[in-house]
Subunit: 390 residues, 2 copies
């Protein structure tokens, strides 16, 4: 049994993802595909369109053999922590290969990681007017000659750094992305591969018929069952305003990544008489040049979830493997590793676990429901992994 | 200049209130009517139909000369603390008379207060299956022979106790209520006086035309401008669920009046997979026989406002006189007292005051807007008292 890992959000699962799974097996010769997938919130700090169970099911139907949840404390993080968390889970399961998209598939990312300057000491960056990531990219280019600026390359570099830090024996397989670029917002008729963000945009605009050719039939069905026309921001905005208005600045200041006095801006913006009228404007109103829009969205999500620094740090030290879905091959793999795996394998969650180790994912699931699907099925307590017969 | 005080909620201001103001002047011979009125939330822990400015304006138009806000830390309290807070404000202004409705206007409430057993030591009540108020009423009946069970009598007794405790020279004038009983939920055609709760019920049912005869023209206009068909509970419920889901039990346990492990019930009910589907059921699900429905609503309002025990206690020690509206006579009265009044007279609030002494009222105003009138005018910062020329 040879395994290949993929780190994904599948928001939503589309033809490009199915193609990547197929390619991953061909490239590596692996027979089993293990996916580590974000849960109910994605890296940019936004709720996923479909819940984690539905997305995991679609992934197994689309070719994956096992889907494990990337817990919210790794999933909603800057790319280097996101990558590190995902690689930690794959490493714990002994996954031998990792396939990922890259804008520069010829680059040896492990070598790049070896030559890269240390990531610590961000405080010392010369240019205070650009983001931390841009400052680090400058340092890296100086040291190695490679300009780390494309989104998939940045993640690829994160995977390589993590493989080194965790001293894993994991082979990295960068893969050119077939689909349109990560940030492409449109796709043409006749196209069968499109980026997830262009698909979300089409859905957001209510152009449901446009996604016909670019997602599997099952994804289309699942999206039709959810009310994808609901804009989560309409619900997100009053809740974040409410939280910012009712918590003291002291309480807001304890939220994870609420750095450099940001809590004062959050409280002040929420109190403005003629303040922002929607969530996007709220994010823009608190943002400075030092931070990306995504970073601000993540911080507001932590605020919404009321996740404090100490809770986040404790959770990151204590990860687990939450099994969401598998097929027969996935089950065989789980049986093989269950005696040796270094992290807890979790296939059933009761309320006491939901209130202990899994409390951040539990909270995220409950709040996801408030935002996206009130009255929908429980996200954690009592749920069993989905088994797909192929 | 002789003054008479009235303690009110005016939710909304109706013909019975106008009649009471007229009667209060006639009974006492006073020339100036000073009203202490709840702000944006009323004693039962619910948002008022109209904001405090509109209600104060309607009161002055309806015969009052001055309306001072009863701050949220006094207004949203069990009746004895509500009464005590109101009497404290009236006493600080040197108001000489207090007129109030009572089911037993012949009772000498000051005498009753003198003969009453101490209110402290509620823990020692024998019957754990009834509310604290009912237990105290039993004790009082034993000591005095008077059964304190009607809502206006209970408040009247609270005023009398406060007058004694604060050693005030204030004359009490119980007055029979003309209108239907406090709890009457219906009124007939042709009736010109109806209870506020029956008026709210008619509005809630969308029977706007029914209130025609029982409220002044100005109240009708104000209610027509607000969208009175919006049920605030639709907004209250998701926010309270959100708060209960995202705060830790430790945080919930610090909320004012979250006693005897109630925080565990609140958290558990919010987490139930098939939990309450609306706010009323939520309140019922956490309620025990020891507590009234109103008490639970108040506790959930403190939870919604995120008001902790220490903040509440500090605020109650540090009250102020927030002027909402007045006419010429009210202005003359204010000029007379401003040099001698024992509490701060506040006619203008800036952000620093809103974040200091007035922070609980400020928070209440902002949350009231979220619940009842998003995008409505500021409730505190920058607002000046409303002056009515008569």
């Amino acid at each position: 049994m040879t395994t290949v890992g993929i780190v994904a959000e599948y928001n939503p699962f589309h033809n490009g993802h199915a193609y990547q799974i197929k390619q991953a097996k061909e490239m590596t010769g692996a027979d089993t595909v293990v996916v580590v997938m974000s849960g109910n919130f994605v890296q940019r700090g936004e709720p996923a369109l479909l819940d984690k169970w539905t997305r995991a099911k679609l992934a197994v139907e689309g070719g994956a053999d096992l889907v494990v949840e990337l817990p919210v404390f790794y999933a909603v993080q800057p790319s280097h922590l996101f990558a590190q968390g995902a690689v930690r889970l794959l490493g714990a399961m002994g996954v031998e290969n990792l396939v990922f998209g890259s804008e520069h598939p010829d680059v040896d990312f492990l070598k790049l990681a070896d030559e890269a300057p240390a990531l610590e000491g961000q405080q010392g960056f010369a240019d205070k007017k650009q983001t931390f990531a841009a400052n680090y990219a400058d340092q890296l280019e100086e040291a190695t000659g490679f300009k780390l600026e494309d989104p998939n390359d940045i993640l690829a570099f994160g995977y390589a750094k993590a493989v080194r830090e965790l001293k894993l024996d994991m082979k990295l397989w960068p893969m050119a992305r077939l689909e349109a670029g990560y940030h492409d917002q449109t796709f043409e008729e006749g196209q069968t591969i499109a980026s997830a963000s262009s698909i979300r945009l089409a859905l957001h605009k209510g152009k449901f018929e446009k996604i016909d050719k670019v997602v599997p039939e099952e994804t289309k069905k699942a999206l039709a069952e959810e009310n994808t026309t609901i804009n989560f921001e309409e619900k997100f905005f009053p809740l974040i305003q409410y939280r910012a208005l009712t918590d003291t600045v002291g309480q807001l200041g304890q939220v994870y990544q609420m750095a450099e006095g940001l809590e004062y801006r959050v409280a002040a913006v929420a109190s403005q008489a003629n303040g922002p009228q929607n969530y996007q404007s709220f994010v823009r109103a608190i943002k400075s040049k030092r931070y990306t829009f995504a970073r601000m969205q993540r911080t507001l999500l932590y605020t919404l979830l009321n996740i404090k620094v100490d809770q986040m740090q404790a959770a990151m030290q204590d990860p687990y493997l939450r099994i969401l879905a598998f097929d027969q091959k996935g089950q065989t793999f789980l049986n093989e590793i269950k005696k040796t795996v270094e992290l807890p394998l979790i296939s059933r969650v009761d309320m006491s676990l939901a209130k202990a180790n899994l409390r951040l994912d539990y909270k995220a699931g409950e709040v996801w429901k408030l935002l996206a699907r009130e009255g929908g099925p429980a996200q954690d307590v009592g749920r069993r992994p989905i088994q797909i017969e192929k």
